[in-house]
Symmetry: C2
Subunit: 143 residues, 2 copies
């Protein structure tokens, strides 16, 4: 069965990924990782991930979802996206890239490839070093 093979494969990949990151591959972490990484790049909130897990018959508590998201982030498997608003979003794409933020919809989209070029960068304040540069292009429905 194709489905089963895929599931096994994903399960294995994810297990390795977790081990490599120094995280014990528990049922919940494996399931959450599968949800996160099986559909390409995503931007999820804790609430959304929890819903998806429950929908996928992976009963997991919201507290564990929060824990997991933070552990994944510390391990470099996720990146927190800094967008205004109360909710925290996590990005499964940890490579160097920037974002569109759709006002009104509160939605985040990756800006593909090297769509953004930074021409001039200021020198960091005394004694500081640059960690990362985040560019958010805010867009809204035309008209």
């Amino acid at each position: 069965m194709t489905t089963r093979m895929l599931t096994d494969t994903a399960g294995k990949d994810v297990t390795d990924m977790l081990r490599t990151a120094g995280l014990r591959p528990t049922r919940q972490r494996v399931s959450l990782a599968e949800i996160l990484y099986s559909k390409g790049d995503r931007h999820v909130s804790a609430e959304l991930l929890h819903e998806e897990a429950v929908d996928a018959d992976v009963p997991v508590s919201l507290a564990t979802v929060y824990n997991t998201l933070h552990q994944f982030t510390e391990a470099g498997l996720l990146r927190e996206v800094a967008i205004e608003g109360n909710k925290t979003y996590f990005d499964t794409n940890v490579s160097d890239h920037h974002h569109f933020f759709i006002e009104g919809e509160n939605r985040v989209i990756d800006i593909p490839g090297e769509g953004v070029g930074i021409g001039k960068l200021p020198r960091a304040p005394e004694g500081m070093e640059v960690v990362r540069v985040d560019v958010v292009v805010r867009v809204r429905e035309k008209q």
Copy 2:
């Protein structure tokens, strides 16, 4: 008295600013505006502004501080700064500019002048138009 003159002047400026913005210059709004605009460009949270007001013997409720910050923002006197984290920060500098974010300290600093140049910008997604581009340069203490 220098102090008194300065106070009067600030009070007057602020009153006019509020009137121009279509806001009734109430005691609380005038006081909060004085705190906000008398020390150059600032980045404040509701909590910080409330503290400063109380310290300055301007008793004002936290709810009113929130209301005021939002009213000022709608009126274009403040700008909301989108930085990760739960708290909302407001910037008294409403001109076009970008920010340093100091990790660890959770502090925001304006990037002076045209310190940032954006070389390449992606086209907005179908049917969308760019509202604004925000650049956050994350820095940390060297070492």
